[in-house]
């Protein structure tokens, strides 16, 4: 039987990143095919290529045996491929019905005016088929996220596609809603629709998937039958790689004093009852999947997000941290994962960025900038951190990612923080610069700083951490000392959701 979709040797790169390399994939009628992999494995990219959002660099896509070019979302729609994106793509100011049928509104008189009644009727039909009780005339912006996700699903279903791609469709749904979604998926299966299902949630796979394909680092690993393969085996395929750099042996367990203690922190849906301690001189790795809540914990401790309850102790003394300036005053620094947006003033020069957190130190009469002093400090850090830049006056946006990251680090060093949260410190940085950053982190810890390193790259976590804390859906699911930390154990803890029964 010719598969609905067949992908052969597909490659796609973005500037600096090879997202997909020679990937293969196929989907037959009436199957639910799960696509799995770590963060950055290439799952979303592959699906976006199929949905016409990205164009592939090389390789073939066959639809029902015929090769196709999918240059735009319209092409994909015309080819019968529908996609439910991970990030909701809805227009909040429009109604449910208007969102579902955007671009395909039924016309009334003269073909000029829109037939709103027909639109609502059509929407109502789809929603009732889904057994979902949402008023098609409701404004999407007023709905809960779960309802919005239902609207996205309804929109995808309204295309009567032969192929339906679902990228993390259940991220905002509760059990009852998920059950309803699965019912719809089974119905689609019966009608011969092929469903590609991307999810991190192992238990869901077991319930709904027929086959599972695993991608890793943009490459194809294997395709297995879901019923016959254990969760552990799948995880093994997702992470299995030989560690090219050996974790440094015999790192002395830090016995430094406690620099930061967090107790029972609650801050929004992704920080639930989080407690951990951090010692001077140690690097504490925070592992978990995207959306596990690690960034949210850091932001809450740093005062960037409001805290509902919980206590923070800095150097043993209770600290009230409500804004980032409170945090900085207590010696806590946070290097955010999106350094371009939150870490740097990209239009300004190296010097200005470095002194930015501590500008008060560079003012005479509390008013004028002491340029010479600024220049000296900037030079100091450029040397110390080996920042490669033609001069301190170079605009930051012209530097490479690695050097930009060093500038952010310099900024926080200038501020003389004792506790540093590094959120994805080597994201988007090439291999050479990465090891420099690693060396830097290590030397900072050796100096006595206390470091929390949030990372989605398991090798990095394993290499750098003295201890590893793993989070899943807002809770800490486990803590591992360096000797006991392995990728499998971490992955297991990272996917250990509350509702998971032993698989």
């Amino acid at each position: 039987m010719t598969p609905l979709i067949s992908v052969k040797k597909l490659s796609k790169s973005f500037p600096g990143v090879r997202a997909l390399h020679d990937v293969q994939f196929d989907l037959v009628e009436g199957e639910v095919h799960a696509l799995m992999g770590e963060n950055g494995a290439g799952k979303s990219t592959l699906m976006k290529v199929l949905a016409g959002v990205y164009t592939r660099d090389s390789g073939e896509i066959l639809l029902g045996g015929q090769p196709v070019q999918l240059q735009s979302p319209r092409d994909a729609q015309a080819a019968g491929i529908g996609i439910i994106h991970q990030e909701l793509q809805l227009m909040n100011h429009l109604t449910v019905a208007q969102n579902i049928f955007i671009g395909r509104e039924p016309r009334g008189r003269l073909g000029l005016f829109l037939d709103e009644d027909k639109l609502n009727a059509q929407a109502r039909e789809i929603l009732s088929r889904m057994h979902v009780n949402i008023d098609p005339r409701a404004m999407v912006g007023n709905l809960t996220v779960a309802s919005q996700q239902m609207v996205e699903i309804a929109k995808a279903l309204s295309f009567d596609s032969r192929v339906l791609i679902m990228d993390e469709p259940t991220s905002a749904l509760n059990d009852a809603e998920i059950a309803e979604l699965f019912r719809i998926i089974r119905e689609l299966k019966q009608r011969g629709v092929g469903v590609v299902y991307i999810s991190h949630k192992m238990d869901e796979l077991k319930q709904i998937a027929d086959r599972v394909t695993v991608l890793r680092d943009g490459e194809y690993v294997a395709t297995v039958a879901a019923a016959d393969t254990s969760v552990e085996a799948i995880i093994g395929m997702m992470v299995g790689r030989t560690l090219s750099d050996v974790a440094p042996a015999g790192r002395a367990a830090s016995q430094g004093e406690i620099a930061l203690e967090v107790r029972n922190l609650h801050a929004g849906p992704l920080v639930r009852d989080v407690s951990f301690t951090l010692r001077k001189g140690e690097i504490l790795g925070f592992a978990g999947l995207m959306g596990a809540g690690r960034t949210e914990v850091a932001r809450a401790v740093f005062g960037a997000d409001p805290v509902e309850s919980g206590e923070i102790f800095v150097k043993g003394a209770k600290a009230s941290i409500r804004t980032p300036s409170d945090a900085v005053a207590h010696g806590i620094g946070y290097l955010s994962e999106d350094r371009k947006r939150f870490g740097l003033a990209t239009g300004m020069d190296v010097e200005s960025n470095i002194v930015m957190s501590n500008l008060r130190n560079f003012l005479s009469l509390n008013f004028f900038l002491r340029r010479a002093r600024m220049r000296r400090r900037a030079s100091h850090f450029i040397n110390l951190l080996a920042i490669r830049t033609p001069s301190a006056a170079q605009q930051v946006r012209l530097l490479s990612g690695g050097n930009q990251q060093k500038i952010v680090i310099a900024k926080w060093l200038e501020r003389d923080c004792d506790v540093l949260f590094f959120d994805e410190p080597t994201r988007g940085i090439d291999v050479g610069a990465k090891s420099e950053i690693y060396k830097l982190l290590r030397s900072l810890a050796d100096e006595g700083k206390a470091i929390v390193m949030i990372s989605s790259e398991l090798p990095e976590i394993l290499r750098m951490s003295d201890r590893v804390v793993v989070m899943c859906e807002g809770r800490i699911t486990g803590e591992l000392p360096a000797e006991q930390a392995t990728q499998e154990r971490i992955m297991h803890l990272a996917t250990q959701r509350q509702t998971l029964k032993a698989a």
Binding site: N92, E105, L112, D135, T144, S147, E177
Partner: protein
Amino acid sequence: MQPDSSALTGQRRLTGLRARIFSPTALQKLLAFASLILLLVFFSFASPAFMQMDNILGILQATAVNGVLAIASTFVIITGGIDLSVGTLMTFTAVICGVFLTYWHLPMWLGVLAAIGTGAICGTISGTLTAKMKIPPFIATLGMMLLLKGLSLVVSADKPIYLTDTENFYMISQDSLIGYLVPSLPIPNAVLILFFLAIMSSVTLNRTALGRYTFALGSNEEAVRLSGVNVDRWKIAIYGLGGAICGIAGLLIASRLNSAQPALGQGYELEAIAAVVIGGTSLSGGSGTILGTIIGAFIMSVLTNGLRIMSVAQEWQIVVTGLIIILAVYADILRRRKS
């Protein structure tokens, strides 16, 4: 097992009529309308000269041009963009009309078409700059504003073009069709045109694909693109429509002054935007109504006229207008925060 339905709707359940009256957009419109009524009542008490037929007609006539420009701006602002060129585009279309009618002695209907056509073309250019060349609307239309201002002066050789040769031109704005039918209500045609245009624009916004996409683009342009809609084409069409409406404004002002005044126009775009904003349309796009814009335009002209009738010093008139704009936008921000 059936999922709990109310959990799925996840929305405050307001039923029927109460829901429609107390929905946020309805409240905003009500607020603006109530403000207008309050102003009218207030000024009527403040001065006996206010509520006279002559003065009311004066207010209506004074609102016409700004109202039309504000309608043009409403479309663009709902898409999340802005059009700073509406004022000078209006002037340019009036100048072109003058060229057609006075320089080239063509019949009046050609002049009318020329004005609207010029507006549509220039609007399309603005749209193309924004959609295809990705120039931010603020910059693109700022450039167009200056371009059109300069062109108006060049084409007219710095002099007003008088339209007195075309006998019936003044009738577009100044004559009164209603007055023929109901002699006691000599409402100038300009006002009739304003209301007619408002109704058509409202229908377009709410009942046509162009209107639907206007809101959609303002709400989430990326989502629209991913839904397979040709975003560029529709954006250009929306700016083009705005331009054509500016052409109508050009006809109105040229007909009112019986001349095309080339130096006029810069500054009118701010008044138009003020009317749109006071009427409840958000500058960030995605929502807005024509009715709100019309009310906003009338609030401004009633305010100006009322203060004039009360002989408040001109300097203070300007201060008050500025204050009202700030308060109106702030009230809108509060309302949004609540919902």
